[in-house]
Amino acid sequence: MRSFSEIDTVVKRATKGVGFNWGVAEEVGKNIKLLEMFGLPGLKNLNDYFNSLKSKKFQNLTFISNHNQSKIPYCPIISGISFLDQVNELKELINIKIENMSYPILFLPFLSRASEVIGKKISFKFDENIFLFNFNQNIYSNYFSNKILENAKLTEINFIENNNTFSQEEWDNLYKLSTNTFVEESDELKKSAAGAGLTDND
């Protein structure tokens, strides 16, 4: 088994080796390590993408808007870098569509890291695949394949507001149960148990 450290190093060098600059290569090394740690086929997709660079052209998506279209497939690395770099502005858009994204799996770690940067969950959909990025702590998905995904016709990114997943009623019920651990104070304890004085007018 290859260690994650080896994956990071070899991917970084390979990314520079196909022509990206060192700073981008560092990002891709960390990203593929992250995908592999989360059990997603990062290295496999990257290898196929780098092989395809010999025969295919890809479009760099630099300025990201709410709807991005191109006849030439977008490079997932430059698109990802742009997304990560601009995410503080992009989060205001709420919903972003990118059409014709090549190797969308390679775009995932940028979204995961962006989720951590802005402190919001991000969802990403293409075809039947749904990914939820939770502050770069984990990636929740219905995608369990170990396959190469060459292209996604339409991808959709949503910034999810920091809302609870539960109702007020559910919270109230649990809170009530938690109070079972509390101790009813006597009048004397109410005065002395906190350790502080009763007035703070000194």
């Binding site: 088994m1 700073g23 560092e26 990560l84």
Partner: protein, 553 residues
């Protein structure tokens, strides 16, 4: 009294970093201190009469066990090379997590001796190999087999029976990734398991030499005197492979230097130094002189440094005797200021290390702050502005911004990865091929380029936007924002200039390892000694924290 931390611009110069010495913060010393109460055992010793075969040594405590697995092999003298391009060694080692099963030993016997071309698993933590110092090893075997102890002077010239040529960890060649073990308290300090490997290898060298002598002459042979063993360490040959590490791990470098600087600051702030601590300082200093007088090297560069160190130490000892400095308040601050005024860097840094000796209570907490969660600081804060970046560059890189990179001499070297060994190397940009494949280690040059690129940009422009057209400088933009938070993260020098002494970079790292007797063999590689004077495993329970000054060599 508040003393300021020493300025990064002053400390992070290569010539200064190349004067650092081992100290109580050094990893081999903190390793021994941590493991002194662990149970040591020789679990397997299956060598033939010539000393070839397998051995296993372990440290254990509660349910945790670390096992060193040794494979000693026959090699021809012509095959023995300390260079990293070698493919055979006298012995190869791995530190295994737990007790190795027979199938582990068999798997490892096919891989460990192959080193870089073998494959380890997540159950192995570190990997190394070593060659005999043939002259000394054979001399010791000869003497012991004839019932005599070896010649101490001859042994002191070298100081070890074996020297390692590389010690690998952190995921290399399939070894366990750091994250798998980072939460173990006993290894909460950098390079602890690398240090454990070297320490146990040292014991293997003694056992092997005794075993061979015994087999050579069973009736007459004696074992190597334990005092001689204590004065033998493990040698190490280190080349450029180690140098880029300190550039590639800025937050880790910061944490090492910051620990040293913070400890120094706190010691200088002690108002009254009690008699016991005065005596520890003086005793260690005097005992350490033995390490310097036995520090031999062929290198003119190092000879000059040792000469200066000796002269300055004599000057300092005279000052210490005549000044009654400890009668004053803040004596160590007074001492430090006197050193700054009167001594050269080699001796100043030597005395800084010595000052730490009495102060366990100050040093100890900092040992646990010397690791780093590097990924935490990796993402560039692209919402920051060009104004922020300019301010960081002007404040944190002011000396670097003065370097004129239009001059040939400032661009003389380039760092690359060799194709045949996948190791970092240095070459002349104007003579050698390959500068188009340069590694991103010319930080000073790229910082200067970044500064010139932002010169005509609006202050309010955010970094995300700036990167759209300047992604080629992404690696140094990341570094600048790291350096903003970590003052000692960056070497404040040109790592590609004609004046570069790459061994300064090696010396810095090795001093934190705890190496002594730096012996440069060129400006690009050196030999050192580790664990010379260290207690033997059976002595660990009655551990003397100042063991490094006990060496008789």
């Amino acid at each position: 009294m508040q003393v300021s931390l020493r300025e990064p611009k002053k400390i992070m110069k290569l010539a200064k970093l190349g004067c650092f010495h081992q100290s109580k913060l050094s990893f081999l010393r903190s390793f021994l201190k941590e493991f002194k109460n662990w149970k040591y055992n020789r679990d397997l010793f299956d060598l033939d009469e010539n000393g070839y075969g397998r051995a296993v040594y372990s440290f254990s405590k509660n349910k945790r066990i670390y096992s060193l697995i040794c494979f000693a092999n026959k090699i021809d003298d012509t095959e023995r090379s300390d260079r990293v391009i070698a493919t055979k060694w006298d012995a190869a080692f791995t530190l295994h997590d737990g007790i190795p099963a027979k199938k582990d030993l068999d798997r490892l016997s096919n891989n460990v001796p192959k080193q870089e071309v073998g494959r380890m698993s997540y159950k192995e933590l570190t990997l190394s190999r070593a060659n005999k110092s043939v002259r000394i090893f054979n001399h010791v075997v000869e003497c012991l087999s004839n019932g005599k102890q070896p010649d101490k002077d001859k042994i002191s010239e070298v100081g070890y029976l074996y020297r390692t040529t590389a010690v690998y960890g952190s995921g290399k060649f399939g070894l366990a990734d750091r994250f798998r073990i980072k939460n173990r308290n006993e290894i909460f300090g950098p390079f602890r398991l690398e240090m454990m490997l070297v320490y146990l290898v040292r014991q293997f060298t003694f056992d092997q030499v005794n075993h061979i002598a015994k087999n050579k002459n069973p009736k007459k042979a004696i074992t190597l005197d334990e005092n001689i063993c204590r004065n033998l360490g493990i040698g190490n040959s280190t080349g450029l492979g180690m140098a880029p590490f300190i550039v590639n791990h800025p937050t880790l470098l910061n944490n090492w230097i910051l620990a040293r600087e913070t400890v120094l600051k706190k010691i200088r702030e002690i108002k009254n130094v009690n008699l016991k601590n005065q005596n520890i300082f003086k005793t260690c200093l005097k005992k350490s002189l033995g390490n310097i007088s036995s520090w031999s090297t062929e290198s003119d560069f190092q000879k000059k440094k040792i000469l200066n160190l000796n002269e300055d130490l004599n000057k300092f000892l005279k000052f210490l005797d005549e000044s009654n400095i400890f009668d004053k308040n803040y004596a160590f601050n007074e001492i430090y200021l006197w050193c700054e005024k009167n001594l050269k860097d080699e001796c100043i840094e030597y005395i800084v290390s010595m000052m730490m000796e009495p102060f366990d209570d100050i040093v100890e907490p900092h040992i646990y702050k010397m690791s780093s969660d590097e990924d935490k600081y990796f993402t560039i804060p692209t919402d920051r502005t060009v104004e922020d970046l300019r301010s960081i560059l002007e404040q944190k890189y002011s000396d670097i911004l003065k370097i004129d990179f239009s001059k040939t001499n400032s661009n003389k070297n380039f760092w690359f990865i060799s194709k045949n060994k996948e190791e970092p190397r240095l070459a002349d940009r104007f003579i050698d091929e390959g500068s188009d494949l340069e590694q991103p280690l010319a930080i000073a040059r790229d910082i200067c380029l970044l500064y010139s690129r932002i010169s005509n940009k609006k202050n309010s422009l955010n970094i995300g936007r700036f990167l759209l057209e300047n992604n080629d400088l992404r690696h140094v933009i990341r570094r600048a924002f790291i350096t903003e938070k970590f003052p000692y993260a960056e070497i404040q020098d040109n790592t590609i200039g004609s004046e570069l002494m790459a061994i300064d970079m090696l010396r810095l790292k090795l001093s934190f390892f705890g190496a002594v007797k730096f012996d440069p063999r060129s400006d690009k590689w050196l030999r050192i000694s580790m664990f010379q004077g260290a207690p033997l495993p059976q002595d660990l329970k009655s551990f003397d924290d100042h063991w490094i000054y006990n060496s008789l060599n």
